[in-house]
């Protein structure tokens, strides 16, 4: 049922696909991302905005997500998830957030930390 014949690599489609994906990556990465003007830290827990505080503060908060407590720390114009009860620890490894549109996500604990500000967001109306 299968004839075991396929084009040798690299096939024209392979190269085209890679170029297209790289182009899309570049366009998406550079449209409107000035990385400036972050002013507010917004913390959403289970889809609801729980906190909206200034980025220029020294502040640590423990929020209770689906699995347990996530600790979020704001210091010196940046913010990060310091600890989380999730198995993957992807949100903690995300590190410090500084720019508008940056975000740290914990899917298992349903916690999202992101930055907003006066600067235009990274993405336009299409993705909003």
């Amino acid at each position: 049922m299968s004839d075991r014949s396929w084009p040798a690599a690299p096939a024209p489609g392979d190269v085209g696909l890679i170029l297209l994906a790289l182009l899309a990556t570049a366009v998406l990465a550079f449209t409107g991302a000035d990385g400036q003007g972050a002013q507010r830290v917004v913390i959403d827990v289970e889809g609801v905005t729980r906190y909206d505080v200034s980025l220029d503060s020294q502040w640590t908060v423990t929020v209770d997500g689906l699995l347990g407590p996530s600790v979020v720390r704001v210091v010196g114009g940046r913010v990060r998830i310091e600890s989380a009860p999730c198995p993957g620890q992807i949100c903690v490894a995300r590190g410090w957030l500084r720019a508008v549109g940056d975000l740290a996500v914990c899917v298992p604990n349903h916690v999202v930390v992101h930055l907003t500000g006066d600067a235009p967001p990274r993405f336009d109306g299409i993705t909003q």
């Binding site: 299968s2 084009p7 696909l17 994906a21 990556t25 990465a29 198995p87």
Partner: protein, 171 residues
């Protein structure tokens, strides 16, 4: 061997291969936390190219279920996200293989699968979290999809070339 037992044997082997790759990968350090090689996808791709859509779907489903059991997250959000991505990735590769037969080599098919996997993962996660801001991660997800698809696709390509071309296999 009858056709039926041959089919069961070969699906068992491919599923075993997928799970071994899955476990090997789980023990590797990751350059970035959301970056995965998706090595198990090469078993799905090999099934698709050698034995057709039905076999590849069977391997995909077995991989997702057993991987979920081994990973301990069956029915959690991560399992739902991963399964959607795995199924979408399989579907995209199967469609490209059947309807655009001369366009992609196995390496290209693997990249198709990886990119669709990444976009689906992000979309389902964004829906689950109700947070469209997740799409700001899209560039990084696309880039890591190209890289991982290229690596696993190349590995699969050479593995397939090394297989002896016996009529037994396709019988």
């Amino acid at each position: 061997m009858s056709d039926a037992s041959r089919r069961v044997t070969r699906l068992g082997l491919l599923t075993g291969m997928a799970l071994v790759l899955f476990l090997v990968e789980a023990s590797l350090p990751r350059p970035l936390p959301w970056m995965r090689l998706g090595l198990a996808n090469s078993a799905v791709l090999a099934a698709l190219l050698l034995f057709g859509t039905g076999s590849a779907l069977a391997v995909t489903l077995a991989k997702l279920l057993l991987g979920g059991l081994l990973g301990g997250g069956l029915a959690g959000p991560a399992f739902v996200i991963g399964s959607s991505a795995g199924l979408a990735s399989f579907t995209a590769m199967a469609l490209c293989w059947h309807y655009l037969p001369r366009l992609f080599s196995p390496v290209g098919l693997s990249i198709v699968g990886a990119l669709v996997h990444q976009v689906t993962q992000l979309t389902v996660a964004a829906l689950y979290l109700g947070h469209e801001g997740l799409f700001s991660l899209l560039p990084m997800f696309l880039l890591s999809g190209v890289a991982s698809g290229l690596l696993t696709g190349t590995a699969t390509y050479y593995a397939l070339r090394a297989l002896p071309d016996t009529s037994e296999r396709d019988a």
